[in-house]
Every structure is written in C-alpha cells, then in structure tokens.
C-alpha cells in the first residue's frame, strides 16, 4: 500500500483539542467533523488540504483527550498518512483501530518541508521526498498491529477471531 501527496506541516504537541475542538464533538458525522479539522491551529487547513496529502509533525502528535473524532476528522479531510517524531499513545492506537495510516520517523519529520511532494510505502516503511530527492526510513509496524491493519482495523479483526 502506498500514499502520495503534498506535505502539510505542524510543530510539536499538536493536541486533540486543536485537531477537533470540543464544541464540535456533539456530532458523529464524519464530514462535519472534517469540515472543522485543525480549525483552532490552522484555519486555512480545510480549504487547502487535498485528497492524499500527508500531514507531518513533531513530537507527541495527538496528545490530550481520547476523542476518536480527532483521527476520524483527519482521515475524512483527505489526509492519507500522518508522519511525526512521536505520537501520543491514545491517538496512536485510535489511528490504528480506525485505519488512519501513521508513521514515526524523526528524519522525515525533520527534513520534509511544507508543500514537499512525499510518497510513503507502508510495506517497507520507506518515505520518499520527491521534491528534495531524499528518502527516509520509518520503523515498520510490529506483526500484531500489521495483522490488525491488514484485516481492516480492530473490529474486523476481533470478528474474524471469533
């Protein structure tokens, strides 16, 4: 599986309150959630994000509340993958559980600039920066998690296990 798109870049400690503010949490409608994605950090995100774009950030991405509305909003906004130096743990497992691709890679997070064209190969963990002609390597997922992603997320994997 591959993803390709332009990078949209943020800093450290992007929290779930700015990814999707609590005032929008009374809905479970994914389109509506997506229409407010990143609103409190970057008002222009919704208008400039294109299908397939890749979000790149620093440390502790997705810290704060357990709201699954956060990875759901990012996924529904068209982002194909989030690359960060590290993820907050609940955000990490929520993303896997709902099938939003995420990768931890210091080098990529450091060197990819806003707007760079980036392609990601999830099988190998190789991230290519087509604009700069660089390539970076992310740690691959452990087997247990890869299986879950292959089966299409947590709910499918437990149904199959029964």
């Amino acid at each position: 599986m591959k993803a390709q798109g332009n990078a949209i870049k943020y800093g450290n400690n992007v929290d779930t309150d700015v990814i999707i503010p609590a005032r929008y949490l009374a809905t479970q409608d994914v389109k509506e959630l997506a229409s407010h994605c990143m609103e409190d950090l970057d008002k222009s995100f919704v208008s400039r994000v294109k299908d397939g774009d890749i979000m790149v950030a620093g440390q502790n991405f997705g810290c704060g509340s357990s709201r699954e509305h956060a990875p759901i909003a990012i996924k529904a906004s068209g982002i194909s993958c989030v690359i960060a130096k590290s993820f907050a743990r609940i955000f990490y497992r929520n993303s896997i559980n709902i099938g939003l691709a995420i990768l931890e890679c210091d080098e990529a997070a450091e060197n990819i600039n806003e707007g760079d064209e980036v392609s990601v190969d999830f099988d190998t963990g190789v991230i290519e920066n087509l604009t700069k002609g660089e390539s970076y390597k992310a740690a691959p997922f452990p087997e247990f998690i890869k299986n879950m992603i292959d089966k299409g997320g947590l709910m499918n994997s437990i149904k199959e296990g029964r």
């Binding site: 400690n13 929290d15 309150d17 700015v18 503010p21 609590a22 005032r23 949490l25 009374a26 809905t27 479970q28 409190d40 950090l41 440390q59 502790n60 810290c63 704060g64 509340s65 357990s66 709201r67 699954e68 509305h69 990875p71 759901i72 590290s86 907050a88 743990r89 609940i90 497992r93 929520n94 559980n97 709902i98 452990p142 247990f144 998690i145 997320g153 947590l154 709910m155 499918n156 437990i158 149904k159």
Partner: protein, 422 residues
C-alpha cells in the same frame, strides 16, 4: 524476571506468569467505560460490526457527564443513543442526569473499580484509578466497542518511570501541585507510553484525594497509567465502597525502571501551569501580574469533597473580586449533597460563586462557563490547550482549589497566603 506493579496486574489479567515491556498482550478487563461523547461513537462501531451481545464479565459503564444536562439538540441525541443502548443490553451501570457525576469521580466513589483490577475507558483521564492500585488507561471509542463485545483489550506492556516521594507537603500544597510540578519537570511527553509508578515514604502523607488528582493527570505527562501501591489509605478508602474480593499487587523490589525521579514533597510550591501546556509551570506566588476574569473549581481532577473543603476554607467569610465569575462544580451528586450538609454551598454563594450541578461543562469548553477572546481563567481542571475552554485567544491557568479560590478573591493569580490578611 522482575516486574513492575503495572506489569504484574497485566500479566495476571492476560493469564501469563510473566510479561515484559514491549510485549503485546490481550488482557481481561474488569471495567469498560465511555461517556456521552465517546459512547455514541463506540455504539456506532459496535452496531456496524454486527455484534448482538455484550460481554458482561466486564462492568460496562456509561456516564452522561460531558454535555449533560444536555446543552443542545445534538448532545441530547448523543445521550439518547447511549440511553437506548443501555436499555437494550440491560446495562446496570448507566448513569444519567440525577445519578451521574463526572465519570472519574463517580467510579471510585461507587466502588466500580478496586485495587488490582483492570479498566479501560474511552476517556483519557481513565488513568485516575491508578490511585487505588488498579491498572487503568484511556483508549478510544473503537477499543471501547471491541471491549464491550469481548471483555478484553490489547495492550503493549509499558516500561515504567519510578517517582519516589519523600517528606510532607507544606501548607496549602496538595496533590495538584505535586503533579503539576512533576509535569513541569519531565514535560508533556516525559512519560510517553510508560507507567508512572509512585513510591516512597512520602506516600503516607498523600490522601486518597491527592492520589486521585495525581493519577488523573498522569496522561498530561503522556503516561499510559499512573499507579500507587496499595496501603492503609487505600484499604480504608475501599471499605464500605466495594464488597468484591480484590487483590493488591506490588512491584518486585528488583523491578527495572527507565528512570527514577525523586521529589521532596516539602520542596513543592503551590504551582500554576500557564497557557498553553500543562508543563509550563510557575510558582503561584509569582503570578501577581496576571489578572483573571473567571475561576472554575471542579472537574475529574479536583471535584472531590476535599477539594471543595480546600476552596471553602479560603472563601469562608470573604467575597470574590467584583467583576470576576467563579463557578464551583462538585463532581458527583454525593459530593454536592455533602457540600450542602457541611455548609460549603452557603460559603461559596455568599462569596459570590455559583454552584453547578455535576458536569464536565467548562473543563472542555462544553458549556457552563465558556471564555470569550482575551479572557483568562484560573481553573482546577487538567488541560490548558489553545481553545480548551472557549475562544482560541482565551487563556487557561491550571491550579489547585486553594490557589483558584485565593485568585478568585484577589482577581489575579495568587498564593493562598496572600488572602490570609484580607
């Protein structure tokens, strides 16, 4: 191989004699929790996957606390969805307006979690119950949905940071100051993916209320859980609350830790976290220049009766600063009643505060005290992210109930000793 306290609880619930850090396991769950925001998402997932039954070996608990009493039509629909789910599956532990309190205060109060048990909750502050010597951690709604169906959850076994506490806290210092101080030391990702395991002779000087506040904010250091050993204080707290048989686990004496942090409780000052991260800590005594518009005393972090007592002690016979709004929110109906019985409600109202029915309300910018642009609030809650309590240009300062009460009186960030002379 030696294990930490968390690892021992996880091993026992995974049916394994031994686990080690990094290992992926499936563990049996004793408590599975969601609220009125995360519950509907979990319920949708549960139905979408086609499940027809819930696993009642785990205590499935739904608490309508965030936007309840419902603030608008959408939140009313969310609660309705939870209500009909609870009815359909005959859930014993469904808490609606009238019975509900803020989940992480309500659950220990009702004895729904005990030492040595495991809990997941689709709410990040589920880590609160570590105070009782349980393993508890926050997850998302899909995890919650899966756990309702299977009674199990998947975990990566965490390594741990040991926090050694010694000595005794000074006057006006509480568990809130200790945890803010620790987060200031290690940062908001200082314990990422790890357990915080508290230990040391200083523990005997921490009440259960202090411990609940400390474990509650473990997540604000990125931790998976924050856990306390089971001691006399725990045993006393569990009495009359829970008649299940529970088991105390303790860390092996030679367990290995990624890091050991020593804190002398006597050196912890009254601490305030400035915007926009909990790690941005300053001594309360240095906040005199920062004028404020609102004070909130409540939340799952500081909505217990001891917190109400600390605020009442300072507000007694005094008035809050004119033009400032102070909102007090006891966390559960029982605490609310106790505030009435002990005369705190009168003290608060005579001081010029309002006293709200239990709700998360302003803590997450839901309702009951949203901030306008440029406004500042001193709050006993746990997060001060951009826009957390309202407008993105508003500011939240995290503090203890004593500091919040003192600040309400002076109108700026204040150490409680500042009001002793007023």
């Amino acid at each position: 191989m030696a294990m930490t306290m968390t690892q021992k609880i996880l091993a026992a619930h995974a049916g394994l004699s031994h686990v080690e850090a990094g290992q992926l396991i499936k563990a049996r769950l004793d408590l599975v929790l969601a609220n009125d925001i995360t519950g509907p998402v979990a319920i949708n997932e549960f139905y979408k996957a086609g499940f027809e039954t819930v696993d009642k070996n785990a205590r499935i608990t739904l608490v309508m606390d965030h936007f309840a009493p419902n603030k608008d039509i959408k939140s009313a629909e969310s609660c309705k969805k939870c209500r009909s789910f609870a009815k359909r599956f005959d859930l014993e532990h469904f808490y609606d307006v009238g019975e509900m309190g803020i989940e992480h205060a309500l659950i220990p109060e009702k004895g729904l979690i005990a030492p040595g048990e495991t809990a997941i909750g689709a709410d990040s502050h589920t880590c609160t119950y570590g105070a009782l010597g349980a393993f508890s951690t926050g997850v998302g709604s899909t995890d919650m949905a899966a756990a309702m169906a299977t009674g199990e959850g998947w975990f990566k076994v965490p390594s741990a940071i040991k926090v050694n506490l010694r000595g005794e806290m000074g006057k006006y210092v509480s568990g809130k100051d200790v945890i803010l101080h620790l987060i200031g030391m290690i940062g908001v990702d200082g314990a990422l993916y790890k357990s915080l395991e508290f230990s040391g002779e200083g523990l005997k000087n921490l009440t259960m209320s202090d411990r609940l506040t400390i474990s509650n904010m473990a997540i604000e250091a990125g931790a998976k859980n924050g856990i306390f050993p089971v001691d006399e204080i725990t045993i006393e707290y569990m009495k009359d609350r829970c008649n299940r048989k529970w088991q105390a686990f303790s860390a092996d004496s030679d367990a290995s830790y990624d890091r050991v942090i020593d804190i002398d409780l006597a050196s912890v000052p009254c601490t305030v976290s400035y915007p926009h991260l909990p790690e941005n800590t300053h001594p309360a005594s240095e906040g005199g220049d920062i004028e404020i518009d609102q004070v909130v005393i409540g939340s799952c972090t500081n909505g217990n009766i001891e917190d109400m007592a600390a605020a009442a002690e300072i507000l007694k016979g005094r008035r809050i600063k004119k033009g400032l709004r102070a909102i007090v929110i006891p966390a559960t109906p029982k605490i609310y009643m106790e505030c009435i019985d002990r005369g705190y409600t009168k003290i608060f109202m005579e001081a010029g505060c309002i006293v709200s029915t239990p709700t998360c309300g302003p803590c997450l910018g839901g309702h009951m005290g949203i901030l306008a642009s440029g406004e500042r609030c001193v709050s006993t809650t746990n997060r001060n992210f951009v826009g957390r309590m309202g407008h993105t240009e508003s500011e939240v300062y995290l503090a203890s109930p004593a500091v919040a009460a003192a600040s309400a009186i002076t109108g700026h960030i204040s150490h409680p000793k500042e009001v002793e002379i007023i």
